[in-house]
């Protein structure tokens, strides 16, 4: 199957562990910020696949758990800076909820570096690219995430 070939080569070519990241980006700031990174041609690793959601406040903890369960090595939630939420206070709600998720993940012993939240505004293309760069760097030494990944053999 041609479509999975490309994915295989990615990992194989480098021989290095390539973490798979799911990045939930709010539509207004972080997704726009990542667009800006694109417009500015800022290079960053391709490990993170973005999923655009209306608002960081719409990211249910279930999404994060589910991504880990489906085998994500890292999960990023990114929204507008506090006070800049397009929906006024969605990111305030997100901050509280995500704090709990992050604490819980760490509590049960999942490496804290596997889950990240960031505020990236529409103007912060460079920041977005740095967030991804740093995340990938931090994930590499951790190796694949198998703690929560569903084993359905």
């Amino acid at each position: 199957m041609s479509h999975s070939q490309a994915e295989v080569t990615q990992a194989e070519a480098s021989g290095e562990f390539e973490p798979r990241i799911v990045a939930f980006l709010c539509k207004w700031c972080s997704s726009a910020g990542s667009d800006l990174a694109g417009v500015s041609r800022m290079q960053y690793p391709s490990n993170a696949t973005p999923i655009t959601v209306p608002c960081s406040g719409s990211v249910s903890p279930m999404y994060i758990l589910s991504a880990f369960k489906k085998g994500a090595d890292g999960v990023l939630v990114s929204g507008c800076h506090i006070g800049d939420c397009h929906y006024i206070e969605g990111n305030f709600l997100a901050r509280r909820k995500i704090h709990l998720v992050k604490e819980l993940l760490g509590f049960v012993g999942i490496e804290p570096d596997r889950f990240r939240m960031s505020w990236v505004s529409a103007a912060e293309g460079a920041k977005y690219s740095n967030v991804i760069k740093d995340f990938v760097e931090d994930l590499k030494p951790l190796g694949p995430q198998n703690k929560m990944k569903a084993d359905r053999s």
């Binding site: 199957m1 569903a150 359905r152």
Partner: protein, 363 residues
């Protein structure tokens, strides 16, 4: 075959079983592949505050009260993969059977109620047609039972359901604690083979041993237990009480958690689901998992109609299944009196009490 095993020698027997590949099995095909596998010995271990069967420690100490979970999982695991499927777009699906890997388990310390449980499970899974997966696993499990000199807990009632604390039903070997040694008796050919493997660790029983055995058994049977008042009348009484309002009353505190059934040595209900691992191509496994008649959606039709909607009707199903339907189908109660469903029920629903109350009410 009847032998004596010094308590200190039990580990030698276990070691012998683990070392010597044995050709046993109940004529299942998987047994052929299994000729070179060793026995994997499991025995009760106290961990996390509960007794559970665990394998691989090499050391077996039979000082347990009964395990929280019965040994039914050895032949009927909570999760069983039937087959995997893969369907590439535009092509027919490919199915790959996943028959259980033949690991042979010798399960030590099985209490007589759970031995009786195995008998009942065998009936269910061989009735009408033989269950492929259960059969494959069951033929590789041997139960090395341990008679109960004392009831295991305040809720034991094996005598009430036609069993006995020294019953060898369902066992391959039955051991009886005679203080510093066990009286070990083979019940089946598999049992004999198991004992043969340990050959030198055993000694021959003396007349005194036999006498002590008899006495121990007699004492065990004489120990007081909880009682179901009239077992033989139960099926008819339950049948007559099908529409009784008593069920709702008795189930009033039930939280529908299903602990009673998950821990029951004879509950066998299951669900079958497809667990997907990939969407393109469609890939996954068809999986059997334990299910539970106390769960509200167990019998719910797609339309939302549910023949057993209320907790009362579900309690009735559980109790009637144990004491009426199974009796009608197989001529014996399904319940083996282990008392787990009473002990573990968090709100005090007590099957002995329920059967007695219903019978009393039916007059």
């Amino acid at each position: 075959m009847e032998k004596i095993l010094g308590k200190t020698k039990i580990d030698d027997w276990v070691a012998a079983l683990s070392d010597h590949p044995q050709e046993v099995g109940r004529g299942c095909k998987a047994a052929e592949a299994a000729t070179t596998t060793h026995w994997q010995v499991s025995a009760p271990v106290l961990e996390d505050g509960i007794w559970s069967y665990q394998s691989g420690s090499g050391s077996v100490q039979l000082e347990h009260s009964n395990t929280t979970q019965p040994p039914k999982g050895f032949s009927f695991p909570q999760r069983e993969v039937f087959f995997s499927f893969e369907q590439i777009k535009g092509e027919p699906p490919k199915l790959t059977q996943k028959l259980p890997q033949a690991t042979r388990h010798a399960v030590f310390g099985v209490r007589p109620c759970d031995g009786c449980g195995a008998v009942r499970m065998d009936k269910v899974f061989s009735d009408h047609v033989a269950d492929t997966y259960y059969t494959a696993r069951r033929s590789n499990v041997a139960y090395v039972g341990l008679a109960c000199n004392q009831p295991q807990g305040i809720n034991c009632f094996c005598l009430s359901v036609g069993g006995s604390p020294v019953s060898s039903d369902g066992m391959d070997v039955l051991m009886t604690d005679l203080g510093d040694r066990y009286f070990v008796a083979a019940v089946t050919d598999t049992g004999k083979a198991l004992m043969a493997a340990g050959n030198s660790v055993f000694s021959e029983p003396t007349a005194a041993d036999r006498k002590q055995l008899q006495q121990t058994h007699a004492e065990a049977i004489a120990q007081p237990q909880r009682a179901i008042n009239n077992l033989d009348a139960a099926p008819a009484k339950l049948k007559a009480s099908f529409d009784s309002p008593l069920w709702e009353e008795l189930a009033r505190a039930c939280i529908g958690c299903g602990v009673c059934t998950f821990l029951c040595p004879t509950c066998h209900c299951f669900d079958i689901n497809d667990e997907n691992t990939s969407a393109t191509p469609i890939k996954g496994n068809r999986v059997r998992t334990w299910d539970n008649c106390q769960f509200p959606d167990f019998t719910m039709h797609t339309s939302g109609h549910n023949p057993r909607e209320s907790l009362g009707s579900r309690l009735r199903q559980r109790v009637s299944h144990k004491f009426q339907y199974f009796h009608e189908n197989f001529g014996m109660p399904q319940c083996t009196g282990c008392g787990r469903c009473i002990t573990e029920c968090s709100v005090g629903i007590d099957i002995v009490n329920v059967v007695n109350k219903v019978a009393e009410h039916a007059g």
